[in-house]
């Protein structure tokens, strides 16, 4: 079964969402490594390398996601890693339109960008989809969740 690294990036301490995600992903059969809150980019990269993660799920609620995620994909690449990457939560400060936010994080390299309140089931479905063939970035995904 696919291996997943999960955590809350930066100095964000919102723990409830990833706790729920962790349980749901485990129930769905994934091998989950939950790094907890206030996880740095390098902690994510190290864990992804250590566990040979198929997917890295980054959560951010507090509004500083953009600053915290800057350069994340370069770090992954530098470590020779190319997992599927998701980011979700409340990704910007304020009441910005989600579509704008999504574009921004897509441009930063995330394969999928999830809006506030995304149910674990949605993450599970798309993980199954994205990890079905190989663990590489699926080019065919058109419908974003």
């Amino acid at each position: 079964m696919a291996t997943i690294v999960l955590g809350v990036i930066g100095s964000d301490a919102h723990v409830v969402g990833i706790t729920i995600l962790e349980h749901a992903l485990e129930d769905a059969g994934f091998d989950v490594h939950n790094l907890g809150v206030q996880t740095s980019q390098s902690e994510f990269v190290d864990a992804a390398a250590e566990h040979d993660a198929d997917a890295v799920l980054v959560s951010s609620l507090y509004g500083h996601a953009q600053q915290d995620c800057e350069g994340f994909h370069d770090e992954l690449a530098a470590a020779g890693l190319d997992p599927v990457t998701y980011v979700g939560g409340n990704l910007s400060v304020g009441q910005e339109e989600f579509e704008t936010v999504r574009q921004r994080f897509r441009a930063m390299g995330f394969d999928r960008v999830f809006e506030p309140g995304t149910q674990p089931e949605v993450a599970i479905t798309t993980l199954h989809e994205d990890l079905e063939e190989t663990a590489s970035v699926p080019e065919h995904v058109v419908v974003e969740q």
Binding site: S11, I20, H23, G94, Q95, P116
Partner: protein, 489 residues
């Protein structure tokens, strides 16, 4: 497992004058604006403030609950505009200044970058007001330009520099505490560390208080905001109140966050007040604050109003001294000023309408009794574990799990307690871990959750907890499985 050792050196003792000065000196060097902090000058500034800007005085003399929103934007000009509007359009009697996350992490460099970017781009690059970067002068400008008392609200585990600057800057109320701003807000500090940091903050508040400038202190009652049973929240409030009182704080506002069940919320607010009076020294003026629902909100504004106004109704019945309002945009992100105003006004309308009515609810006394009994058990355990010292006892209680909090961010708490709602929507414990509440209380929790399990025909599990966490977001109080509501109501 907790990372702190179980033989802590921390003691609940008043810091000496020398230690205060020494610490103040070292703390102020953490960022350049620290240099401007001068105690005598600060006292003079506070003394120049009119009566209606004195936080403790306004709060403690109010005849009905005062409303206060949460709000903070990066720049001084916009923060002034924002607070004025919350006061004038929203009618908030007490104002906030919510601090950004970098400042909470003592990352003043990053906060500076965010502030400068905000100034150049015009969009808010910080999720709050970086008070340390604005410095003493900036804070005083804010205090001068806004016509109501303002509190610093943050979430900073090490708030020593923030306190030094904002107290000197004229703020007279400061939220937080060593447990309530550790466990829900960070994973980077032991409790010993945060207790030590907050002893300084409280001692500094005490020093102002001794000079006649009362600094109100407000432990953060909702903790993780997520189904925290009243007895746990209240215990943390009492501990932080005791620690603050030792350092000379004389105005303490104990907090509690709405759970959504009217009877339980009213009972908890009454228990909070009566236990506060019981445990805190006589020379402390105890007030209470009720936070509108702190957990996950419904995504749409209209349903959010339902949650907010239920908070207003609860406050009207329980009559805390202060109510912290939420905005209908809570789900999505930091609210606009208009949304914040709307939250205050909706709350006020509900409160005013309900407040005139003498509403007596069945079962409040029983529930209050249960909360008080459990809290007494927890406090007894803490004092026992500390051999009478509440600081030491608290560290040991968290180490052993005798005191615990659901969904902690920090490893200081075991996180072995799991909350769930009973059939009536009251928050109970499904898993107690090693929590030191009495056997009688545990029986009540068990019995009530059994009732619910029967109504729904499912075994209590993490799934049920997760459903309860989502329930209000999904438009309900209890996370019933689809189609399994039962007919117990």
């Amino acid at each position: 497992m907790s990372s702190s050792n179980s033989n802590p050196s921390i003691r609940d003792e008043r810091l000496s004058d020398e230690r205060l000065v020494e610490l103040q000196e070292s703390v102020r060097s953490n960022w350049k604006t620290g240099a401007a902090v001068d105690f005598e000058d600060a006292i003079a500034f506070h003394e120049s403030l009119p009566e209606h800007k004195r936080f403790a005085r306004v709060l403690e003399s109010a005849s009905s609950p005062l409303l206060q929103p949460r709000a903070g934007v990066p720049t001084l000009e916009k923060q002034i505009d924002l607070l004025r509007s919350l006061h004038e359009d929203g009618g908030a009697e007490l104002l906030p200044t919510t601090i950004d996350s970098y400042t909470r992490d003592n990352e003043y460099e990053k906060a500076q970058t965010g502030l400068e970017e905000t100034r150049s781009t015009g969009t808010n690059e910080l999720n709050g007001f970086p008070a340390v970067n604005h410095g003493v002068e900036g804070c005083r400008e804010l205090i001068d330009d806004v016509d109501a008392p303002i509190e610093v609200r943050h979430g900073t585990p090490d708030a020593r520099l923030l306190a030094s600057i904002t107290f000197a800057g004229g703020f007279q109320s400061f939220e937080g505490g060593p447990i309530s701003y550790n466990i829900p807000y960070t994973s980077g500090y032991t409790l010993e560390e945060t207790i030590e940091h907050w002893q300084f903050v409280d001692r500094l508040a005490g020093a102002y208080t001794e000079r006649g400038v009362t600094i109100n202190r407000e432990p953060f009652g909702p903790l993780t905001g997520t189904l925290v049973p009243p007895s746990i929240a209240i215990t943390v409030m009492l501990v932080e109140g005791l620690l603050a009182a030792t350092q000379g704080v004389r105005s303490i506002t104990l907090g509690y966050g709405q759970l959504g069940n009217l009877v339980q919320d009213v009972a908890a607010l009454r228990a909070l007040r009566s236990l506060g009076e019981e445990y805190l020294p006589d020379d402390v003026t105890v007030t209470t604050v009720f936070h509108e629902w702190m957990g996950g909100f419904p995504p749409d504004e209209s349903r959010a109003y339902g949650v907010i106004t239920l908070g207003g109704a609860t406050a009207a019945i329980a009559e805390p001294d202060k109510v912290i309002t939420k905005s209908p945009q809570e789900f999505k992100g930091v609210p606009t000023c208009e949304a914040n105003v709307a939250g205050i006004r909706a709350t006020r309308q509900m409160m005013e309408m309900v407040h005139e009515q003498s509403l007596v609810l069945d079962g409040v006394d029983d529930e209050q009794g249960l909360i008080e009994r459990s809290t007494h058990a927890l406090m007894d355990a803490i004092l026992d574990l500390g051999d009478g010292d509440v600081a030491r006892g608290t560290v040991r209680a968290f180490d052993t799990g005798a005191l615990d909090v659901p969904f902690p961010s920090s490893e200081c708490a075991a996180g072995d307690v799991l909350p769930a709602r009973d059939d009536d929507g009251r928050v109970r414990l499904l898993k107690f871990g090693d929590l030191a509440i009495d056997a009688d209380s545990k029986e009540v929790h068990d019995a009530r959750l059994d009732e619910r399990a029967q109504t729904e025909g499912r075994d209590p599990s993490f799934r049920l907890v997760a459903d309860d966490v989502d329930a209000i977001t999904d438009g309900r109080l209890i996370g019933r499985p689809e189609g399994g509501e039962g007919d117990a109501n």
